[in-house]
């Protein structure tokens, strides 16, 4: 009998495809990683000599009180409703301007919520009125 016939198995892990695997992982992470991007509500301020008078029928006045109550054209409304009101106004007149007027004591959070609602309604012309001091 042949006893001494031994199988010599190579004990090495095949490494030729290691580079391929590494590249696959690299590309996966390149695609799936996101950079930390700043986001926010964009607005363009008027220039210092750009204050213009507009016919009052083309303006919707939105007043915000210090307590966070919102008045849309002399009517007290809830903040989430503003979006629909803005859409209705734009449907009637696409050149409607929305004048946003907070008072000095209004909190910034309320202001951003209202501004966000106006933007969600699709308004392009937003005017910022000076708070009365």
């Amino acid at each position: 009998m042949l006893v001494d016939k031994k199988k010599t198995k190579s004990a090495e892990v095949p490494t030729s495809s290691l580079a391929d695997i590494a590249f696959l992982i690299l590309i996966f992470f390149l695609i799936s990683s996101t950079m930390n991007v700043d986001k926010g509500v964009t607005l363009t301020l008027p220039g210092i000599e750009q204050e213009t008078k507009i016919k009052s029928k083309n303006i919707s006045n939105i007043l915000i009180s210090a307590e966070g109550n919102v008045m849309f054209d002399e009517q007290l409304v809830d903040i989430p409703v503003i979006r629909e009101l803005v859409r209705e106004k734009l449907y009637e007149n696409e050149n409607q301007i929305f004048s946003l007027k907070p008072v000095a004591e209004t909190e910034y959070e309320i202001y951003i919520r209202v501004l966000d609602q106006i933007k969600q309604g699709g308004a392009k012309k937003i005017s910022l009125a000076e708070p009365d001091f």
């Binding site: 700043d38 986001k39 509500v41 907070p102 202001y111 910022l128």
Partner: protein
Amino acid sequence: MMKFSKKSKVTSEVPTSSLPDIVFLLLIFFMVTTVFKEFTGLQVKLPTAKEITKLPGKRDVANIWADRRGLICIDDKIVEVPEIQGVMWDLRTRAINPIRVTSMRIDKQVKMKTVSDIQQQLRKADCLAINYSAKVGS
């Protein structure tokens, strides 16, 4: 006579097969240890909004922080309200990376008087494109 011709032949090559490994290790080391320049600013709680746009980048953006204590800070420098106009004018007209957008990072609880004061200063400095920094949410 003795034979002197028996020389030991030593190869004078540096082994280069592990060079890529070393390069990769260095690459990973520097990737991990690199910190991007970022302004720390003031501690603010940003409001949330839905209708949100992204800023064009970081290089040509000026950051203004305003916190609930009433401090105002432009790119890591504490300023008073009347100084904003001058600082912003310099940032907008500098030769390298002049700013195009101003990112307003204002705390939720800041009163509109402060916000309006800052905006008046920005208008005087002709920095008209602004972005109220906000978190995504309802």
